[in-house]
Symmetry: C2
Subunit: 318 residues, 2 copies
DNA sequence: TTGTACGCGTTATCAG
DNA sequence: CTGATAACGCGTACAA
């Protein structure tokens, strides 16, 4: 900065002000400074800046799984909100197989992110509270008690799915979950309740193999399956086809996420669109508010999903 | 660090050494220091560390498009290599629609990444050289003249595809490209050459609509289409089905990337697996070498792809 | 193995 | 707009 200042015939302070975009430099001086900077190949050192500034206002974004389309949608939403406001964003990506969210979130803290937006972290509620605290985190895609959370209204999604299946005449359905049936799964529990209210009997299956087995179990078998996400749903459709059960004639299948695959004609999967991009936007907005007021009480934002009906669901004709 | 040092009864230097995992602290002292650190809620400031250290050895990774499965594979490969060696990785994600790669790569430079691994950047060769220089960049997924590059052997991929289609009796094929037919596209050009050598006539189409039109154009129409990626291939299959042309009876289709979708039974797409994870690994290794020797001559690494044959390609029976 | 002292490149403040 | 000065939190000789 000193060199740039000298070359532009101004003080170092002014160079700093110019590059920060702070007020206090005339337009022409600013240009002269930038010209000198380009000439000298100067590039501000973000580390030094964050170190020196007391009010860095930078956000961290933790993404659990790059392969999940949910992730890219959330990312887009966050970026959309942050772009206009030029708030720096630091990224960290987890590894769903390793369960090492903590390490990557710590990276964000090491870089001094003021608030972390955590998408789909698998950390326990109290771990999140201990590691980040109410004043440092916004959870996306999952409700965490005691901190800002932005998520799909699972109850609404479940109600839509149950109503749809019920309307088609299904009376027995299975839920194909992501995790151990003993673990907590808000999606599963919401579906349990909604199905009961719709007069549909529910059972939970742990994997695709299990699901196929149940569907073919004869008397009392489920005639529809609600999968926790599209990929699982598509794998199920595949596996069913492999044993001669065709969708939707032999079994109705509903997915979750409404990924691009779902709309492919050969797949044509009925699916819940949870508007992940909107989730990202709302999370970013909450994070910004938290930045300015670390003490405000935590808020939970529910986003209404939409059920997209396609040909993987059809009337059940016993 | 001073507080931690005081609390542990040692000097600040030693705390620094302990947290860096550098040699020079006894095991018991280290433990005592960590205990004090935990007690005080101390977390090393990565910005200060990078600022103070002359040899930060940190890599930057630019990813053009989170939605592209290629991206996550490359990411996994890079991470795999870097994890054992504890080299810090800073991420930047581009926006394929905005063509603002430059901005995001500059973020990496602002954070003082020593070497940037650029996956699928759309920056022109000379822009990359001007922005980063030979000593600061490794390109993945695309050859950039004058800098380290890691990419698929397109010629080999094209030869495999042409041989496969030729063997099935196809004599006229189309290439469905990503970009304007006037732009450079190594994949397209490789296919052009390989097809000619295999005695197949080639034409280039710009989009799915165009492709469908050509396939249905009657006498002299292409009987097979090679798409630049799986998503385009799948959309094409869809569009063809929409006008009554079924794959593979009416037209053979080959994709690129061998994404998880390709293996779904309902899709069953013949596709080129370019081993993107391996590309990521090789890129990371090159980046590490460049870190230690900024002046070594640039290297180009070609990774051999594999053609995965599925039922979207079949003999052409005129 | 430990302590001392300096510097890394900025931000921020303040009197001019 | 200048010029001076004090942090920011740490890495790294160097000497003990």
């Amino acid at each position: 900065m000193y060199d740039v200042a000298t070359s532009a015939g101004v003080s170092q302070s002014l160079v700093s002000i110019a590059y920060r975009g702070a007020p206090g430099v005339s337009e022409e001086t600013r240009e002269r400074i930038f010209a000198a900077g380009r000439r000298l190949g100067f590039r501000p050192n973000a580390n030094a800046a964050r170190l020196a500034s007391r009010t860095a206002r930078t956000l961290g974004l933790f993404l659990l799984d790059l392969r999940n389309p949910f992730t890219s949608d959330v990312f887009d939403g966050v970026r959309e909100v942050l772009q206009d406001r030029d708030v720096p964003l630091i990224l960290a990506v987890g590894d769903p197989a390793r369960h090492d969210d903590r390490v990557h979130i710590e990276d964000l803290l090491g870089a001094r992110a003021d608030v972390v937006i955590a998408a789909q972290t698998t950390l326990a509620d109290d771990e999140v509270l201990e590691l980040l605290g109410v004043e440092r985190v916004v959870s996306v895609g999952r409700a965490i008690v005691g901190v800002d959370s932005v998520l799909t209204d699972e109850s609404s999604a479940a109600t839509d799915v149950a109503a749809h299946l019920g309307g088609l005449g299904h009376r027995r359905a299975a839920y194909l979950g992501a995790s151990n049936p003993d673990d907590a799964d808000p999606r599963r529990e919401a579906f349990r309740r909604a199905a009961r209210d719709a007069g549909i009997e529910i059972e939970v299956v742990a994997d695709v193999v299990d699901a196929v087995g149940r569907v073919r179990s004869g008397e009392g078998a489920p005639t529809a399956v609600f999968a926790h996400n599209d990929l699982a749903a598509i794998r199920l459709v595949d596996a069913l086809a492999g044993v001669g059960v065709h969708v939707p004639e032999g079994c109705s299948v509903v997915g979750f996420d409404d990924t691009p695959l779902a709309s492919v004609r050969a797949v044509s999967l009925t699916s819940v669109d949870q508007h992940a991009r909107e989730l990202g936007r709302r999370a970013a907005l909450l994070a910004l508010e938290r930045l300015d007021d670390p003490l405000r009480p935590p808020e939970t934002v529910l986003v209404e999903p939409d059920l997209i009906v396609r040909s993987s669901t059809a009337p059940y004709l016993s």
